[in-house]
């Protein structure tokens, strides 16, 4: 149990997708105009990460890894399909995003309109593939750990995008110098937020 809490806290704060790795920046910068849409996209990312990481974990451990196919029979013990991992991960992610898209379109059409192109683009959001690849690299020992890691990464990304959306709503009334308006100031804010998040760096859990 303590192990799981550690993985979760680490994924949310210490190894935050945005502030520690700067992954998933495109939709983070583009959809953070208002808190409402940011919450929508953030929730979608939590959902996708929370589902794709465990599925990819199963794929990794029972299909792709060297010797992962041993359950089919002894003759498959030497098969190594890990060269397929990128394409398989992406296929899983893309199909999950399709699912999310259909769900949102059905139940929250307004949000669907507000998110626009960035909803299908979650499929190529680097933080999602990043989550799968981190899972592979860190070799989590069971599926619970993998799903907790996926959820944690999603929650970290959610926090980041919602926080910056609130800040951007606030600075809408600021007299930002003309060359800095829009994306420029957003990058500056992201950097400053990254400094604030450095407080968690080096925490050993």
């Amino acid at each position: 149990m303590q192990e799981l809490i550690n993985i979760f806290a680490k994924a949310v704060f210490v190894e935050n997708m945005i502030f520690a790795y700067f992954l998933g920046m495109c939709s983070y910068l583009a959809v953070s105009q208002t808190v409402k849409t940011a919450v929508g996209l953030g929730a979608a990312v939590i959902f996708v990460l929370g589902i794709t990481v465990p599925i990819n974990f199963l794929l990794e451990n029972y299909v792709l890894q060297e010797g992962a196919l041993a359950w089919l029979g002894p003759q498959f013990e030497t098969v190594n399909l890990s060269f397929l991992s990128f394409i398989m991960f992406i296929a899983v992610i893309a199909s999950m995003v399709q699912l999310v898209e259909m769900i949102i379109e059905k139940f929250a059409p307004a949000l669907y309109g507000a998110l626009g192109i960035f909803l299908p683009l979650i499929a190529v959001n680097c933080s999602i593939l990043g989550g799968a690849l981190f899972m592979q690299e860190r070799a989590y020992s069971n599926i619970t750990q993998a799903s907790v890691f996926g959820l944690g990464s999603g929650v970290g990304w959610f926090l980041a995008i919602v926080a910056i959306a609130a800040i951007r709503e606030k600075i809408r009334y600021s007299n930002v110098p003309a060359p800095m308006r829009g994306l420029g100031i957003t990058f500056v804010i992201t950097g400053l937020m990254g400094i604030a998040f450095m407080s968690f760096m080096g925490i050993k859990l």
């Binding site: 609130a166 100031i185 604030a196 407080s199």
Partner: protein
Amino acid sequence: MKFLQKTIEKFDPLFEKGGKYEKLYPLFDGFKTFAFVPEHTAHTGAHIRDGIDLKRTMITVVLALVPALIFGMWNVGYQHYLALGLAGEMSFIDNILFGAVKVLPMVVVSYGVGLAIEFGFCIYKGHQINEGYLVTGMLIPLIMPVDLPLWMLAVSVIFAVIIGKEVFGGTGMNILNPALTARVFAFFAYPTYMSGDKVWINTATKEGQSVVDGFSGATALGDLANAGTTQYSAMDMFMGFIPGSVGETSTLMILIGAFILILTGIGSWKIMFAGVLGALAMGGIFNVFAEYAISPEQQAFMAVPAWQQLILGGFAFGVVFMSTDPVSAAQTERGKWIYGFLVGFFAIMIRVFNPAYPEGIMLAILLMNVFAPLIDHYVVQANIKRRMKRAQVQTANA
């Protein structure tokens, strides 16, 4: 006073529209309104509720900082002579004089560099001078170690004023506290000058010459974070006879400042009170769960009584002067409680859990600065929802 006013007014035509130094008008205006009430009045619907303006607010905070500054000067001298083994022979004046020689250049550099940038931006953008830097310029030297090279101080100030404030449009628009931005910049850019056990006390007799080789002058907080014990008593920590950044050591002097801020209504007592509550809560949790620590040092640190966490390190200074910054703190009343509580909570948590950064309060305040707009947003949304509900109930009853 009359003479001064006449002298200043003599220069008026030079700076007004069409005058010789028209471009420098913001500079002139800044100094003039510093001494006298501005003569221009608002043209549109302004509703005056109080005689207080930005300049007076800022000056009050600077006044509240004076006890900490003077004590800081004395303590710099005291720690210096203590390290040399001369503490008994030196008088109060000796200590203060030594400290003043060390601290005043920091104040001058901080104000000089910061105000120069502010003036530059004002002239470039053609608006009046913002008074925001008055407080920041005083805070920055107080939160730096005494031996920080002055050029590093200047670089940090430049970063804080330009990236922390001016790119957002100047005073009142920044999202992070500028003084803390300066400190965090110096902290991550020049870590050897900002942490450890060599930087807090000036042990040199002449420039660059350390008489006391290998003298360790760790702060009480650094001691606790690394070894779990400290040689300083709680009374020393409260009074401030310990090494540390210039102005942060004496909890007593900070309390005087807090008293001034609360009395004049300039600092939010809600944030301060909630911050103390948050720190006590986290300290209490640590006390209860100390046995689960991962190392014996951490266990000893976790077992430090919760109230003692309040007087350790820069916690008091941060909560009183930094977290109450009205610009970067939460602005709704209920938000202030949440914001303050989380500042205290995270400060103690980072302090204990993160061995690399024992000074948790700085990073905790910056972290909560980042989330303050979000807290405000949800407090406002909750208010809207509640009032909508009330309105609906009323219409339904009517």
